[in-house]
Amino acid sequence: MIVGLVGLVIGFSQRPGSIEEVKEMMASHDAHGGGHGDSQIKENHGGDEGHGESANEKDAHGGDAHYEHVLHQLQNKPWASLYVAAFFFFMIALGVLAFYAIQFASQSGWSPVLFRVMEAITAYLVPGGIILFVILALSGFHINHLFVWADPEVVAHDALLQGKASWLNGTWFIIRAAFFLGGWILYRHFAVKYSRLQDEDTTGNKWYKKSFKISAAFLVFFIYTESMMSWDWIMSFDPHWFSTLFGWYVFASLFVSGITTIALVTIYLKSKGYLEFVNNSHIHDLAKFMFGISIFWTYLWFSQFMLIWYSNIPEEVTYFITRIEDYKLPFFGMLIMNFIFPLLVLMNSDFKRVNWFVVMAGIIILCGHYIDVFNMIMPATVGKSWFIGISEISAVLLFLGLFLFVVFRALTKAPLLAKGNPYLEESKHFHY
């Protein structure tokens, strides 16, 4: 309880800063959206030919068509930055949820002391999911211009999008999103409930066994829905492009961010003295996961990049051409942040036990994966007009504040030791 109270104060002290930022963000959003909104609608109804292009295609626009293109990009910018931040923090919670389910399904002996931390982080799944759902619904029904396939004008001129319209249409898109989110939140709800009930149940492992079963079922559900989620929520920003590896790639990104967040929250709570049963072997294990999954992410990134680069098929390779031409620094910078840096820093077994090393590596990894999401979404929505400016930073601060608030508030809801877990004693004495 005390942990949570301290956390709550910290969460609150983060909040005011971010609420001001929200206002700032909204102001900047109005400047873009409001100022240009009217002209956009007029031009839209003008049935301009240039509008039929998808945002990621580089075309020689002349005159008005070019301005309209840039206008769309600028209008998308605050929406896209909101979306990137919303998705980024949501995917952290989702990654933690997947990790949590894996710990149950694999009957890990080291992690039960961290379960309450993981449960608290996944608490963000509900508010974060709702916010994301609202943004997706707005985009799916073309309130903003995030998804080109949601624009009936565009689809009317685009045979490829017409072919995909049975999958990529607003209604079906929203139903799918509700289904994914519903399933994840449902698992989260019951996993936490059973975990609490197991605390009170001192005689048997009834609730633990139930947790085990639903975790295994959830993992099956998760890997399917996560894959489809990545097509829907990220790949469909570039609806002319497709990659079979994409679901795994997004998974690696969200998984490593989730594990890093567990490590950071654990180290923070430990430094405040609330997790006396967590020793540096637990941190070591988390750091090993951060290290390993960072490399796994790089492996998938490279596999996707190299296969497309090597064969150089025009309809696939535009995806990387726009990114390398317009996003050189973030595109290759994230490789350094997500691969080279953790590779060199977290390779040494002793460094993985040093808290400040893990924290430093963790912050870099999280920033790197923010840029990763940024790279996946921005080129298709704002194209060359990208900039990490006020709307991007304030959107991150908004969701960071919300995330910390929700997570640290959730930490107050239960004792920090899941005392009914049958592997708890082993976990307390875990030593590597």
Binding site: F302, F305, M306, Y310, S349
Partner: protein, 179 residues
């Protein structure tokens, strides 16, 4: 120079661990411990320094990466920069993704193999090497601790080792040190 050692045999790894700690606490010098399987924590109890094999592996990996880069840069870019299927062989960087699989594999190859060879050399293992086993039972179910007895009262040391749980104690005169 002839030296005197005492071989104390144990039948349980827990008893062995306790014995090692007691012997070290009494400042007797443990020459060697022979066990049929790795006993977790024995190296710590004996006070052995950490292995540096991992560090050598990292350096070997760097060597492998350098070999791969130098080799492919020379062959593909400098010596004969052919146009093979439109791949840009103007500079190493431009064609790098195609080289990454080889760079990776050679790094792992060098790191793994050279580290294994280092291990063999440091632990003096090779085919036809004469086994240095003081008692055949230590490969099956006995644990043997070899304590240097040259400068100690043998009687007292034997009694002490007997108290630590040794099931059998032998006094051996060695002609020369075998390591």
């Amino acid at each position: 120079m002839a030296s005197k050692v005492i071989h104390a045999l144990y039948i349980d790894d827990d008893i062995l661990m306790d014995a090692v700690k007691k012997v070290r606490a009494e400042h007797y010098h443990i020459e060697e411990v022979y066990t049929p399987f790795p006993v977790h924590g024995l190296d710590k109890a004996m006070g052995l320094p950490h292995t540096r094999l991992a560090i050598t592996a990292f350096m070997y990996g760097c060597v492998g990466l350098t070999v791969a880069i130098t080799m492919m840069n020379y062959i593909m870019i400098e010596d004969w920069p052919q146009d093979i299927g439109g791949k840009p062989s103007f500079s190493y960087l431009e064609n790098m993704p195609a080289f990454v699989p080889i760079m990776f594999e050679l790094t792992v190859f060098f790191a793994a193999h050279l580290m294994v060879i280092t291990f063999y050399m440091r632990s003096k293992l090779w085919p036809f090497k004469k086994a240095e086993n003081p008692d055949v039972r230590t490969t099956d179910d006995h644990f043997l601790m070899e304590v240097n007895a040259s400068n100690h009262d043998v009687e007292q040391l034997t009694n002490f080792l007997g108290d630590t749980g040794a099931v059998e104690i032998k006094i051996i005169d060695k002609e020369e040190d075998n390591h």
